[in-house]
Subunit: 196 residues, 2 copies
DNA sequence: AGACGTCCGTAGACACTGTCTACGATGCAT
DNA sequence: ATGCATCGTAGACAGTGTCTACGGACGTCT
């Protein structure tokens, strides 16, 4: 009859509550006091573990980064040895994450709500970008372009599609039924047309 | 000795104050009361013209969209008849706007702060996208790809570069001195390598 | 066993926010 | 001059993040 997750430490309970909350009601619902209420404690309690509102939000966002990194890593692992396939799998995984966990994805890139130092950007985003560079280098070894540049542009493209599609700017203008054609166009553009 | 813009109507004075404010102090400073203070009126005054905080922010953002559209239009007009040049000019203009007016640019795409219907999205963003589609179609007439798709992907790419570069995620990972190489890579990718 | 000290959460205050409502003041039309 | 509509003021209300003082529970040492 013990109330759920009542006996674990408050620190992770708060983050759990925040993850649920952003999932159900979006970024706007992530007030410090609402998270505390959700966790069943008073509004001053979080201060013991998170000195500021932003630090709590950063911890919540970190969960998102970890989830995304795991999901993307799994997608890359399924097509070992085929860089091009790995890249498309990575891209699709990223987009799926953005469209499935909308609130969390928005939070993760609302850098005005995050402590850009403490957050899991260095620890999760950078290695992920490193593998992206590596995959790009192996997917098009003949090209003279610098892989870092291509990877950066591709990353921005991917992010832009996820973002713009997420809030409806693209389906209005482009008029397709899903973001997949855009993703394919971006991949073809940055990696060269697919060989088959 | 008349205080500057004291005699114009309050409606536009409020928007002016907001534009200045977001320029100087960023999106976070755009509270209703602070804008009212800046315009020299009480905190209840804006309600006469803007029923809600979001509607005022939307009016401010509209100024940004108008400015961006004007700037981009001018850039396109300088290279009439050369679609490829027009596209690169458009892209550079867009990026310049994003990096010069950082606060405004952030506001313009914070759709949680904007009334997505009333705002100048339909009136400014859509025609701009239409010219983008047109330019893409003329810049690569031989390609079999649908111009709308290519234009959508390119626009997402452009937006992604502006956004990611704006908050420093890219220069950290890619390690170049400016966003220009990324822009060039994106244009080359989506439009095919430049002929010279 | 008793006293002490540290940890952890509560509760209240403060300044600030957006929204709403009641109230004047101003100027124009009849 | 009288009425009226327009416009801005001022106060209240619920909500927010941060800060500080307080209480209670726990373990350790003498």
């Amino acid at each position: 009859m013990a109330e759920r997750e009542q006996d674990t430490d408050l620190r992770s309970r708060l983050v759990d509550a925040g993850v649920e909350l952003v999932d159900e009601q979006g970024v706007g619902a992530l007030s410090l006091r609402e998270i505390a209420r959700r966790a069943g404690v008073s509004h001053g309690a979080p201060r013991r573990y998170f000195p500021t509102h932003l630090s709590l939000l950063s911890a919540i966002a970190r969960r998102g980064f970890e989830g995304l990194a795991a999901q993307a890593g799994a997608a890359v692992a399924t097509h070992e040895g085929e860089p091009r396939e790995q890249l498309t799998a990575l891209a699709h995984s990223w987009l799926d994450f953005a469209l499935t966990n909308r609130g969390m994805f928005e939070l993760m890139f609302r850098h005005d709500l995050l402590e850009s130092n403490h957050l899991g950007l260095r620890e999760t985003s950078l290695p992920l970008f490193a593998t992206l560079v590596d995959l790009v280098a192996r997917a098009r070894p003949d090209s003279g372009a610098e892989p870092r540049i291509v990877a950066g542009a591709l990353w921005a493209n991917l992010h832009g599609i996820a973002q713009l599609w997420g809030w409806g700017s693209l389906q209005l203008a482009v008029g397709v039924d899903g973001p997949r054609p855009l993703l394919r166009a971006a991949l073809d553009a940055h990696l060269g047309p697919e060989v088959r």
